[in-house]
């Protein structure tokens, strides 16, 4: 059970990020989580949105390089040590986390973190075995 992340290649030019958010806003797409990684020359914007398919179409049509990636959304207690417990589950099974970022909103008392791990199935299994609560796309959209 994975969630769909939209990744966008952005050159470090002024106004490019605004063009992404404007395109999404015009299509009434809501951004639920985001992370921006950057080098001197370019950045990669990663988004969890309520309508991933539409977002991809809208951004492609606007001329952006877009890809869709499977990520894992995990719900965890919003208190000290909450993230450590989850990360431990993943690293204990020998898996490598490519990157992670936090969700904008909260689900009840809990926080939501997005994990990008190459071996998705193995990661899902490790998390399930450890009792982590994994969210579906629908659950994410409902937050």
């Amino acid at each position: 059970m994975t969630a769909a992340q939209i990744s966008i290649f952005l050159e470090n030019k002024s106004g490019r990020l605004a063009e992404v958010t404007r395109s999404l806003a015009d299509a009434s797409i809501n951004i639920r989580a985001l992370s921006l990684a950057e080098t001197i020359d370019y950045g990669v914007l990663r988004l969890i949105v309520d309508k991933p398919q539409e977002a991809r179409q809208v951004l492609s049509a606007a001329g952006f390089t877009v890809s869709e990636t499977e990520v894992i959304a995990v719900e965890m207690p919003d208190r000290p040590g909450g993230l450590t417990a989850i990360v431990d589950l993943i690293t204990a099974s020998g898996l490598n986390i490519e990157y992670l970022y936090a969700f904008v909103g909260q689900r009840g008392e809990n926080a939501v973190v997005i994990f990008r791990i190459d071996e998705v199935e193995a990661a899902l299994e490790a998390l399930r075995k450890g009792g982590a609560r994994i969210l579906s796309s629908d659950e994410l959209s409902a937050i």
Binding site: S7, F9, E11, V44, G63
Partner: protein, 440 residues
């Protein structure tokens, strides 16, 4: 006055024009007979052009000869145009060609002697003499710059310091401690040396450095002033290309008003690059050379692709050999960066070979103030290439850089850009932006 002008070969450099023309005509006759006899490729070309070698009487018949281009060298790669058995070839150099294959040139012992002679003239025209310390910072290797300057300086009897390229700190130490009086390197590297020297607290006014011979890349009059102010020495331009011999084809004297051609060895013409028609002295066009005396790789009317004009007036120095202006452009898209010839097609070939990339690219050449020429290769990221993981994008750009360096022998900066961000025009995309200030 001409008696005081420093020069290496007074007889040739100051020869009466009519006498020089006679010598050139005689050498041309011999050359055409020789290539027809020894080089099958020329045999065919001359036959195809309907030229019987014995009908070539002198320079007036030159226009009847077919042109030679890089394509001829590529077709006959690597040694097919050599006019002597390989046992006679004592040296081979190579420069990059338009596609993966390099342009290979060979020299007999006689050619090496000619090369030393024309480079001796080049260096002597700037006042180099026995007793000088010549610091030669051109790269030694397949590139003709290093060994060309080396042999010329040795011929003069100067003390050659073969520092080769790079290692700026050590170059500066040699310059200071050995007391180099003559410097040979690219013009952009001259500025790097000046800048780095000043940072180390060197006082160039106090150094014995007197003159520098700067070539292997295009530069400008304003850059000359900058170098002279920085290194406190005369900055002279030199011209050459490996197909003809390497450095030593043309040289500036201390008048600094155009490059004298060693035309007793390399006969120049200026042609209209579109029609191939010869143009009179003074008109701007493509520079073409016929190597009158070359043994291993003689070439008829070789098209350099360099744009310049022959200066009709005689130089105040009194030399009778004609001058060309600084090369002002190219008829093709070749770039010269830090002495390395770069064709956009070579970069394209590398990109096509990397399956993750699209061959959509843009080359941006820049020369930072007091810096070396830099080539940035912008490559579009396609939906297929794109990864959400930075490490994969970084690995891709590193791989592109490494493969280009492997193919060109030149370190480049790779920059990934958004697709369709590179300018497209009808049909052919613009591939090169040259931001170097090369105005005259």
């Amino acid at each position: 006055m001409s008696k005081d002008v420093p020069c290496w070969n007074r007889e040739m450099e100051f020869m009466a024009p009519a006498e020089l023309r006679q010598l050139q005509s005689q050498r041309l006759r011999d050359l055409v007979a020789r290539v027809y006899d020894k080089v099958p490729h020329y045999h065919q070309k001359l036959d195809a052009a309907g030229v019987r070698p014995e009908t070539i009487q002198g320079l007036d018949d030159l226009v009847r000869l077919p042109f030679t281009g890089k394509d001829d060298l590529r077709e006959t790669y690597p040694f097919g145009m050599f006019a002597v058995p390989m046992e006679e070839v004592v040296r081979i150099h190579a420069s990059s060609g338009t596609t993966g294959k390099s342009t290979v040139v060979g020299y007999t012992r006689g050619d090496i002697g000619t090369w030393a002679e024309v480079m001796a003239r080049t260096l002597a025209a700037g006042g180099t003499h026995r007793g000088d310390f010549v610091q030669n910072s051109y790269g030694y290797g397949l590139f003709t710059g290093g060994l060309g300057a080396h042999y010329g300086a040795e011929r003069i009897g100067a003390s050659v310091i073969p520092t080769s390229g790079g290692q700026t700190r050590r170059q500066l130490q040699v310059l200071q401690d050995f007391g180099s009086t003559v410097l040979c390197c690219t013009p952009s590297y001259a500025l790097v040396l000046g800048e780095a020297g000043r940072e180390l607290g060197m006082d160039f006014d106090a150094l014995p450095l007197r003159v520098g011979f700067f070539g292997a890349e295009p530069w400008s009059q304003s850059m000359r002033q900058e170098i002279e102010a920085s290194l406190k020495c005369h900055a002279l331009d030199i011209y050459g290309l490996s197909e003809i011999i390497g450095p030593g084809v043309g040289y500036e004297c201390l008048e600094k008003s155009g490059l004298h051609l060693n035309e007793d060895h390399f006969f120049p013409e200026i042609i209209n690059p579109e029609t191939g028609d010869p143009l009179p002295d003074g008109e701007l066009g493509e520079l073409v050379f016929t190597t009158l005396t070359k043994e291993a790789l003689p070439l008829l009317r070789y098209r350099t692709r360099d744009i310049t004009r022959i200066i009709p007036e005689q130089c105040p120095c009194g030399r009778t050999v004609r001058r060309i202006e600084r090369v002002s452009g190219r008829t093709d898209d070749m770039l010269i960066i830090r002495g390395v010839n770069v064709f956009p097609s070579q970069i394209e070939e590398v990109l096509v070979g990397i399956e993750e990339t699209t061959p959509n690219y843009l080359l941006v050449v820049d020369r930072k103030p007091r810096g070396m020429d830099e080539l940035e290769v912008q490559v579009e990221v396609s939906a297929e290439t794109f990864s959400d993981e930075m490490s994969k994008l970084e690995a891709l750009s590193a791989r592109i850089g490494k493969e280009i360096e492997g193919a060109l022998g030149l370190r480049v900066a790779v920059r990934l850009v958004e697709p369709r961000s590179l300018e497209r025009s009808m049909g052919k995309a613009r591939r090169v932006i040259d931001r170097r200030d090369l105005g005259q």
